[in-house]
Symmetry: C2
Subunit: 717 residues, 2 copies
Amino acid sequence: MPDFADASTDKLASIFAPRSVAVVGATRVPGTVPFDIFSNILKDDFQGTIYPVSPSAKSIAGVKAYKYVLDIPDPVDLAVIVFPSSVVKLALEQCGQKGIKSLVIISAGFREVGGAGVQREDEILQIARKYGMSFIGPNCLGVINTDPAVHLNASFARRMPAEGAIGFLSQSGALCTAVLDYAHAKNIGFSKFVSFGNKADISDIDLMLSLKDDPATRVILMYLEELTQGAAFVDAARRIIHEAGKPVLVLKSGRTTQGASAAASHTGSLAASDEIVDAALRQAGVIRCQTIEEMFNNAIALTYQPLPRGRRVAIITNAGGPGVLTTDAAVHERLELAQFSDATRDLFKRSLPVTANIKNPVDVIGDARADRYRVAMSAALEDNNVDGALVILTPQSMTDIETIAEEVCNVASAHSKPTYTSFMGETDVASGIAILQRRNIPHYILPESMCRAFARAHDFSVEQARRLTPAPTYTDVDTAAARAVLDGAVDLARGYLSPSDAMKVLEAYRLPVLRTGVARSPRDASAIAAQVGFPVAMKVESEDVVHKFDVGAVLLGIDSPASATAAYETIVANVRRHQPEARIDGVFIQQMAGPGEEVILGVKRDPAFGPVVMFGLGGIFVEIFKDVAFRIAPIPVEHVRAMMQEVKAFPMLTGARGRPHRDIAALEECLLRLSQLALDCPQIQELDINPLIVRDQGSGCAVADARILTASPQRSM
Amino acid sequence: MPDFADASTDKLASIFAPRSVAVVGATRVPGTVPFDIFSNILKDDFQGTIYPVSPSAKSIAGVKAYKYVLDIPDPVDLAVIVFPSSVVKLALEQCGQKGIKSLVIISAGFREVGGAGVQREDEILQIARKYGMSFIGPNCLGVINTDPAVHLNASFARRMPAEGAIGFLSQSGALCTAVLDYAHAKNIGFSKFVSFGNKADISDIDLMLSLKDDPATRVILMYLEELTQGAAFVDAARRIIHEAGKPVLVLKSGRTTQGASAAASHTGSLAASDEIVDAALRQAGVIRCQTIEEMFNNAIALTYQPLPRGRRVAIITNAGGPGVLTTDAAVHERLELAQFSDATRDLFKRSLPVTANIKNPVDVIGDARADRYRVAMSAALEDNNVDGALVILTPQSMTDIETIAEEVCNVASAHSKPTYTSFMGETDVASGIAILQRRNIPHYILPESMCRAFARAHDFSVEQARRLTPAPTYTDVDTAAARAVLDGAVDLARGYLSPSDAMKVLEAYRLPVLRTGVARSPRDASAIAAQVGFPVAMKVESEDVVHKFDVGAVLLGIDSPASATAAYETIVANVRRHQPEARIDGVFIQQMAGPGEEVILGVKRDPAFGPVVMFGLGGIFVEIFKDVAFRIAPIPVEHVRAMMQEVKAFPMLTGARGRPHRDIAALEECLLRLSQLALDCPQIQELDINPLIVRDQGSGCAVADARILTASPQRSM
């Protein structure tokens, strides 16, 4: 028995490995949660002592019951609360008096029902704080630890899973029941299995970090419906991946607006937009999955097989058609079909029938028995050009399915490269699949899932080995100046800075703003235009005119002092005609950027993730193609490059089809400075540089226009 | 016993429903194809008479054998040939002498092995022609007919499938074994099941058309590795869908270049590019699937349930998490979450617990039993705002899985709207799933597959109801003139028409070419430019200069007679400098198109599909985003519109973000005229109009440049 509960200050230790458990609110009625949980702990061979607490029963399932938790004569490490929500408060008080430090609160009827439930949740949190107690839940299925020394099933799941190396954390309790059933059928085991419900106290992040240090857990799987502490999540995931080398797989629902709204009505919380979640998970190195099945398909590969060192796969099949389908799927996942060495080809020629296809996919032909699979697999796995084997079997009349399954396992175990399998069909191949599963060779019903799992495992091996360069901290910036401008503007009704103020903020962070000035009269205009340098752009300086182009308040390409004077008059006349009530503070004059490609940089402060940085190419690319990329600030340098390359139109900046090469290094610096600005100045709610002109290589960039929305008290979250 | 073989001239009748079958080449060795096929026909209760033909055996599996097919004393409707490929020729001769008209040739070793195999296949085809015989194969698994009056398993599959309404046709024999196993486990039955192998005689198209008229078949599934008769396939599929109202589902492998090359090495044939296949299948109304599982997921919905009349689904679940996942999946498939009527909401309020979520997804809560599912499903299906029900179950401790399954079936059967289900998990829910499958309620392991199947079924109901307007035939065209220009150019070495010839061809089809002329001298240039109307574009007239822009042989915006003279001299000088050897025939002068959006129209003659028409927006949209759409000529009018709308940048032509509305009607006419031109003139191998300028609404289009590649004998296929 591990002595977690004695020694560790980790609040999760006595939840996962208690020596004694009280089930507070247990009943004698089978088929109800309060009975089922007690019964599960008892029947699933908990290695410590269990005490039912029941206001009325003398004993439950043969075990002496106590009226109050305070009546239990021995120390209690963990209390599992199954009382109705109205009574939970009282039960917690008594647990506190008893000196219990850890709880799992199964009961529902808290934040998720809104109204009084929110208040009830606040109250139990206060009681827990008062007594120094930690708890999982409320509104959850419970906690499972398969460690034979503990063997705790403190949940109302129908079954205790087998021991294994996967840690599973779920925001949905009901989904857990489906997952446990699915995993049972696929012979998948777990180390820890936690339904964390409303996570009022112990959070998903606490749990994932505890699995980081759990020697029994090699792979972490999470089902999430919201990411309220986005930045902390990204940080925790990166630590798990890089410090512990454990993959983190996430199924995040609420991808669509309607799904998010369904999640909100179900969890009572608001979700970040899915494109931001997606960017954050990518930045964290998390493997995002779209279905439960995909999550486990990827997990078994990561848990049981060596990581692929490259993308070059050998496909071995006893049927041409499935070989073609697998090739399609592999290429779709950007895997490569290995080119066999001459030696391998010679060996195939000598050992396989003449009708066999010895190119990749290797077709060992419909009448292949185990010996041919052995020869083909061994030769492929020993070839230096091969990073892994994908083995396909169709149940033809001569196929000795079980012998082949055993042989595939034997060959796979003898090599340090991964082998994945797909025995196609269902009933006839079932005995073969059972052998593969028992011997921990990943099996997939669909070759497509097999290829996807291989690709994700390879992605992880690359991610794990990657050492990211942290975003640099530019020291030539003037944070005080930027903040002064922003603070001076916080009281603005609409929250937007004036164009010249916006430019001042960017200038303080050495973003390449163009030379500017504000003219107060037509005559002023000609002098200032000459100062900033022709050609110039001119636009009205007015807080009241938001869509300046639409009212003719912007004029471009003004190339002489006389034109500047005329332009001033035109702009003022246009504004007067369209918006007679608008206050005009003058006309803003700016040097024109010169030739280059227009891009858009943006920042939006997300309640969960903090400042999110956006990049895209100007105009229609953002408008029509939604061709943009996001990252969470601060952005490691490699991710600045990755986010630029994610944008499909990016080749327009790097010489595609005879276009000039633009100044990518300068663009990269702009993104990094912008990200630093957003982190330094929480007053910035939204910021758009649109457009930033990226000039030719070595000639830098120019901020042509920018808008900054400040966080006024009404809008702050 | 149906008397197909007597009355019908259909060559497939006596293959699917023979009264007597000879297995030619049968042996006494179990575990070999020649024995297994004989044994399958015998043991799987064939309702006619079976005769083994064996050079050596007296009897096989207890049935008297004949040395030669000619020795059989009775008439034989069908011969199944299982001899090695070298002997097949001889066997066919004897079958011909015996008067057998129908054969299934199982034997491999023909076209698929190349070389001598190709010749062997030609020889057997000639023998078949000589005797008026038809055959399926060679190189196939065989033919199955589950009709109880016939019950023929003339295949070496491990099992005879159950009777059902799905017709399955496969180019891969081995894949059939996996499919039969999969279908058995899912309780899916078939009407006909055919592995057609090399289709040397009876083709996939013959087979699909025979299933069109087969009353036992309601849904047609096909696995294809190539589409060599693409146009005929599209036509057959459209007839099946529109005349017989049967959906056609296709899994076409070789999607990727590598997959296609694997398919080629496996079937010995070349594939059309996948984007063309994809466009053709869409045009045909075929439901294209990416995996075997997806094909059956869609098929069970189409086979067993009423077609959805709309996209509005009601999700009913006993767990919030899966409800969110299903909502995401539904929205991803562009389904809509139904808005319940007030009456339905009231009913939910009255009948479901207060904790239930009565918005869509309807959460009947974890402790729901069958009664709550019944109430929720019935109310939802009776609501006029609902087109179908998606029912989710997770196996929670209180869930009475089997009773719920029965109740779901009862409610579903009582309504004319479709119900699909997903009982999540595997072992615990197995008994419930078995009930659903037995009662023909589609069940899906993943909510995602369920939503996709619903969306495909709805697509089919729309497709089936759609009456397409055939492409108009323009009578104002001058086919003879176009052909004359093309034929006059067929001998050109490089195959490209001169610019002026290309324009003549387009002009003959009344495509809106700009006014042009060819100047032979600088002085000529000023006169001709004045004639076509300023501003003009000028480019060199030379067969030798292909990339005219690159060598400075194109000048634009020439707006006076003097500039035209100068431009002539500049162009000639530029060409002389870059390509001194080029023959210069003068300078081509063209009226400029004026303002508009640039689009690209193209035609490419595909060996399988004939002329394929391409549409995209000019420049980077095609180059970087590959934002193009294809259709096979002739294009029904609705598909001309659909192909334009498939292009993501299309909103740029229809007023997106304040842009002008362009002349879409004129663009549509250009696509239709181009398609007619390509059909009328097989000499056109490739044709690109790049760009076509689409002017503002009502102002038409203008062909600014075009290239035509003619089919010279060397390039023809």
